[in-house]
Structures are given as C-alpha cells and as structure tokens.
Amino acid sequence: MLRIMLIRLVSVVPVLLGISVISFFVIRMIPGDVISSIMGEDFADPQVEAEMRRYFGLDMPIHEQFLHWFGGLLQGDLGTSMRSGQPVLSEIADRFPATLLLAVSALVVSILISIPFGVVSATKRNGVLDAASRLISLVGLSLPNFWLGILLVYVFSVTLGWLPSQGSGDGGLADLRYLILPAVTLGASLAAISMRMTRSSMLEVLNQDYVRTARAKGLGEHVVVVRHALRNSLIPVVTVLGIQAGALLGGTVVVEQVFSWPGLGTMVIRGISQRDYPVVQGTLLFLAFFYVVVNLLVDLIYVYLDPRLRSGH
C-alpha cells in the first residue's frame, strides 16, 4: 500500500509543475503585455512604462522571468495585487475559508441527495422511483447551476422572504442561513452526477457473487444492501467525489457570483474585470493546486478503502 501511495505522491509533482508553467504563460497570452494592458493607450508615458516594466520584472528575458516567478512561488509568493497592494497569498487566505465552507457544504448536500436516491434507484431498478430519480438527475445535469440559484432566490428570498439572497452575514452562527441557498444550488447540481454514479456502481455490486452469497445465507435485504452492497459500491463513488472537486471549484466561481458570496470565485471575477493579473493568476493557480491535492487525497483514500489495493496488488 505504501508503495502505491508513494508512486501516486510522486506523480503529482510533474502535474503541479505543468500547472505552474501553464499559469505563467497564460499571462503571456495577453495581447500586448500586462503593462500596456493596464495603462491603456492614453497613459503611455515611456518613462513610467519602463519603470513599471522593471518593477514587474518584465525587462528580463522570459526564462529568467519564469525562474524568478517560480522561485517566488516556491516560497509561497504569488505576487502583489495591482489594486490593493496586498500580497495575493494573504488575499487568498482571507477569502479561501468562505469558498471552502461553501464547497464542503455543497458536497454534504450532494451526498445527502445522491446516495439515498442512487441506492433506492438501483435496488428498485426500473421501478417508478428509479425512473423518477433518473429523470431528475438527467434534468439536473442539463440545468445550469446559476439558473437553479436564480430560481431558488426567486422562490425563497423574493417570494417567501425566508432566506437572504446575497452575502454571507457577519460570521455569527445565525448567519449560516446565508449559506443555505448557495450550498443547495451547488450541491444539487453535483448530486445529479453522483446519483448516476451511485446507481450504476450499486447495480454492478448487486450482481456480484458475494451479494448472492449474503442473500443465500438468509440475511435480510436491508443488511445485504447496506452492509454488503453499499459499502463496496462507495469506492467508485469516492472517486467521483474527487472528480467533482473540479466541478465544485468551477461551480463555486459561478455560484458565488450569483449570491455575492465573499470567496475566491468573486475575487477572481473581480480580478478579471479590474485586470488585476497577479490576483487572477495567483487565485487560479491556487485553485488548480487545491484541486490536484484533493484528487491526490481521494486516490489515497481509495487505496485505503479498497482491500485489493491495500494489500499492494
């Protein structure tokens, strides 16, 4: 098991390196360059421009720029926001908890919906409930999450007035009600994917010999489903949760925007509209790293959960 885990750990290194290189070059895709893009045409004082170019290290050859940037990255230096003058990393640290809270809550919502529905769907295959939950998950897959958010705001904030539609409150416990709509929005759209996965992996497990054995032993259907089938079918579902981390992070960007949630998503979008390139670059890099690390953790959990892998085969 240790060997598999080590191999997996090492395999992350080139991916992280690749992500860094891509993030570095994305900023080089700006037509013209950062300075002319920020300063605009009418601001073109050559001396100021040269000064800024030197300040941001843009006068160096590109490989030196990269080494300089990458060296900073290794020390946790993601640059400085061009608008606030704050280090990008500290801005990220300020806002990441909100994004994490939203993402984790959404994941919980998604698990609460998808596992019961997926299991029922598989055990009562081709029944009315199965058809209904499959239809719901297909519609859920086709529904843009921000639209679901808009509809929820209309029903629960505008019409019923039960829940706030914007912001996150002051951080008190009562302010958790700010979390409900964004978390449900994001969680429901994730549930659509994992519902399908739970169903199909549950179906696969239910056809296995050991499930037949369990039934033949005379175990109750409930015990067979929960103790024998569900536990084993959760292994692929864990993988899906890892894949969902990507959808989750992308989803937060849009859903945060719908609810003005003060996380990294709103920060990135504001950074884009303000042309605050270090903020955009740093945040996207951070999110991509986070995604890779989450997937790594999921894989490690997977190795731990699957006895076949645990013994090292």
């Binding site: 897959l141 086709s142 843009p144 921000f146 399908r196 390139y277 996207l284 991509a288 995604y291």
Partner: protein
Amino acid sequence: MVTEPAPAPPAARRDGLRLLRVILKDRIGAVGMVIVVVMTLAAVLAPLIAPYDPTAMSSRRLETPGGVFPLGADEAGRDLLSRALYGARTSLTVSLIVVTCAGVIGVVLGLLAGFYRGVLDGVITPVMDVLFSFPTLLLALAVVAARGPGTENLILALVIVFIPSFARIVRGTALSVSKEPYVESAHAVGLSSARIIFKYVLPNSVAPIAVQFTTSLAYAILIEASLGYLGLGVQPPQPSWGSMLSSGKAFMELSLWPSLVPGICIMITVLGFNLLGDTLRDALDPRLRGRSGR
C-alpha cells in the same frame, strides 16, 4: 510470415441511417433528437422566424407575455422570444465551432500520440494530462482572463478546454488498435501509415468520438452560458442566454420572465444533447452503458 491483412472488424462502420433508426426507436433518443433538431432549426431560422429585432428596444419594459411580445420583454423592452431565438444561434454556433475544432485537433493529437508513440507521445500526453487536471471552468476563465472577454477569445478558451478529452479517447483506441494482429499484418504487408490510420484506427474510434462530440456539445453550451452569465462570453448587444440571465436576475423582483426564458432554453437544449449522447453511447458501445458522460 506474410499474411493478407484481415478485414477490419465491422463494429465501427455502421450505416448512418441504421443508427438514426436505432436512435428514433429508443423513446429517450427520439426526444433528444427532436429537441436537437428543433433547437437547430430555431438557431438557423432565427432571422426569418423572430418576430422582432432582438436588439430593438421599446418602452414596453418587462412586459409580461401575451401582449405584443409572445414571451414578454426584458428590462430594455426587447422581445424575449426574438432574443431567445438569436441566443440559440449564438450558443449553438459557438458550441459547434468549439467542439468541431477541439475534436479535429484532439483527434490529430491523439493519433500522433497513440499511433506513432515515442517522442510525440512523450510531449503530447503530459500536456494533455495537465490541461485535463485543470478544472474545466477555471481553465476557460484563465484564458478569457488573459485575452479579455469576447466571442473569439471565448471560442479559443473553450477549444483549449475540450481538446484533451478527444485526444485521450483517440490515443487510447490508437494504442489498443495498433496492437491488434490485423494492424500488425497490415504493417507487415507494407500498407502506409496513413492507410492504416484511415482504414483501421479511425473507424474504431468513430463510436467513442461521436459520443464525446455529442456530450461535449451539451457541456460547451453550459460553459458558454456560465461565462456569458459572468460577463466574460459573447458581449452585448449580441444576445446570449447566459448574459440574458445575468440581466434577468437584476430585475427579478419586477418580472421573472427574463430569468425564465433563457434558463429554460439552456436546460432544454442541453438536455436534448445529453439524451442524444446517452442513446448514442448505448447504441454504439454497449460496454460504456450507464456511465456518466463527464
């Protein structure tokens, strides 16, 4: 030992008409097909069937449906039906261009990596893996952030996002097909690489590519709408469903219609492509049955 190259397995070469019949016989597939055809017609015929100019403003702001405007009007008094029809045009054009370009580039890269292997594989595959390891929307955001909002950059961003999945599929098939005895014997008889690719490798990839193409279209429409909603996609005044939703939300307390119409359009269109993709997957490759498209 010299042998005649064995005939290609019949699995991949299917009659298009027969496939269509299979899709239409499946109830779900038929629904998907109808949705896709109707939406495509709406997009193509928008200039002919839209009752109004989608950008023409009027004083009938936020009017409810049933009056002059069949589906009501938005905050600038523009006809929602006409805007939705032109929105279909925008959305489907962008998605089709994106998925076609990404498909062609991805197939070529996948072939190069999987068929020729060696250095090419060593360069292409890691790059694809890294691109793949970026969350889709974030990658698109990164490109749009650097290049600025607008239709061309949107297309560029989405093409980059969709290339890796095609490249992966084709590389996989190319790798496994080139180990088959009939391809080895084709090599042995001296068939050119190009002939082998077109005769054996590509036909075997057609089924998964077709499935990927359809589900990618669904996904491209969703991402296009998301970026439009964030104000980073097709720019106003050109109507797009995503940006219609973002202005619709601002006036939600006064009228729900501007938030309802484009949302329903997105949902139905994406659903249509998803249904079609699911049916295609079942019809073309029974092994993939039941797996999620993303």
